[in-house]
Amino acid sequence: MNWEEIFIALPKLLDGALLTVELVLISCIVGFVIATPVALMRSSQNWWLRNIPLIYTYFFRGTPLLVQLFLFYYGLGQFEAVRESFLWPVLREAYWCALIVFALNTGAYTAEIFRGAIQAIPHGEIEAGVAIGMKKATLYRRVVLPRAIRMALPSYGNEIILMLKSSALAYTITLFDLTGVTRTIIARNYLAIEMYFTAGVIYLLLTFIFIQVWMRLEKHLLRFQKV
């Protein structure tokens, strides 16, 4: 182990880690915003409403994230119409591509997690809401969604950790996230083991910090369950 080189590389690696955190944070927020309506549609009684978003979740959950990234970043440029549209300045940038794909990907997984939670809400609670005369919107806002999100917390936390790990793929479309920075450093000093090891430790630390925060959040949101 060449500790000296690790210390030299550390500030750059932490810079990369910052981009990793930024990517995960933004894509998870956007993913959450996508997932909520999709989950509601997926748990609807109407066949069309239920199955149209299935195309989205099935595609994003059934293909590797790497394919999705390449499809967006390299693939969209194949079409003249895309290259000439007003969206091109955004879609051309690796940063935005990564964010869009990560958000869509985590949105699809999160939607299925939320759907499972919505369907697991005890019928009695919804019937009670109806019985005291709640309108459908109120029922969803006051009963269904808060209850579902609380039930989904553990699996949703896992999904965010998976997203943190998947975000390492951002380097494949030229971004300098933690993995990207690690690889450029290795290209210069040839210390593959040391640098990958350090990057691995930083990822572990990020996961660890996240788990601590998430456990606090769970404790806070589920405080009513305390006996």
């Binding site: 059934g62 693939g75 790990k165 975000s167 494949t172 593959a192 691995g200």
Partner: protein, 231 residues
């Protein structure tokens, strides 16, 4: 269209390679998972520690980092050792072996938890009965615990296999000629990135769908002997 400007056969070969990598990773990963579960449930503190560090480390590090670490790091270690023994050539490690090992490592870490949970859910009475009729502990594991744990583990393992299938795309980054890699070659030659990556996506979708159906049948088969409460 399906000829893909002459790259169709190469893509098909890549898909076949992807399937091979996935099953290779599954087989080796199951061994890792069983060993990990064995270590975690062991009487010995050291073994439990080893099992615990294995799952914590591997599950906290991105899969792609494991792939890169096994391939480049493994090569690095082997060459450092070789140089230490006075060998001055450069040893390259096999991409397929590195890819399968890396994927198996990550599959095995998650499988460890699945197996551990499944083994713990086998009713105690079963094992006591086996002890009572005088089976030795190895036989108890292979004849009583494992077959019953397997049934409980199948849903979890199926989900992990889906993840593994999608993770095989990562080994294209160490230049193993599987589906993603061959799609990239096709795209570089034809300048039609969308076509090739879209075809690759559809093939992945087909593979994961087939596995999903297989999973349903496997669960039905494994639960053949179990009475279900009818509602």
């Amino acid at each position: 269209m399906f000829d893909l400007q002459g790259f169709g056969p190469q893509i098909a070969y890549g898909a076949w390679m992807t399937v091979q990598v996935a099953f290779g990773g599954l087989l080796v990963g199951l061994v890792f998972g069983l060993a990990g579960a064995g270590a975690k449930l062991s009487r010995f503190k050291v073994l439990r520690g080893v099992g615990q560090s294995y799952t914590t480390l591997v599950r906290g590090i991105p899969e792609i980092l494991i792939v890169l670490l096994v391939y480049f790091g493994g090569e690095d270690i082997i060459n450092r050792i070789a140089t230490g023994f006075g060998y001055d050539g450069y040893i390259e490690i096999n991409v397929f072996a590195a890819g399968v090992t890396a994927l198996a490592l990550s599959f095995g870490a998650y499988a460890t938890e699945v197996f551990r949970g499944a083994i713990l859910s086998v009713p105690k009475g079963q094992i006591e009965a086996a002890v009572a009729i005088g089976l030795r502990s190895r036989k108890i594991f292979w004849r009583i615990t494992l077959p019953q744990a397997m049934r409980l583990a199948i849903p979890g393992l199926g989900n992990l296999f889906q993840v593994l299938l999608k993770d095989t795309s990562l080994v294209s980054l160490i230049a193993l000629p599987e589906l993603m890699m061959n799609a990239r070659i096709g795209m570089q030659n034809t300048k039609e990135p969308f076509t090739f990556y879209f075809v690759a996506a559809l093939i992945y979708l087909a593979i994961t769908s087939i596995v999903l159906i297989g999973q349903i049948y496997a669960e039905r088969w494994a639960n053949k002997g179990v009475k279900r409460a009818s509602s």
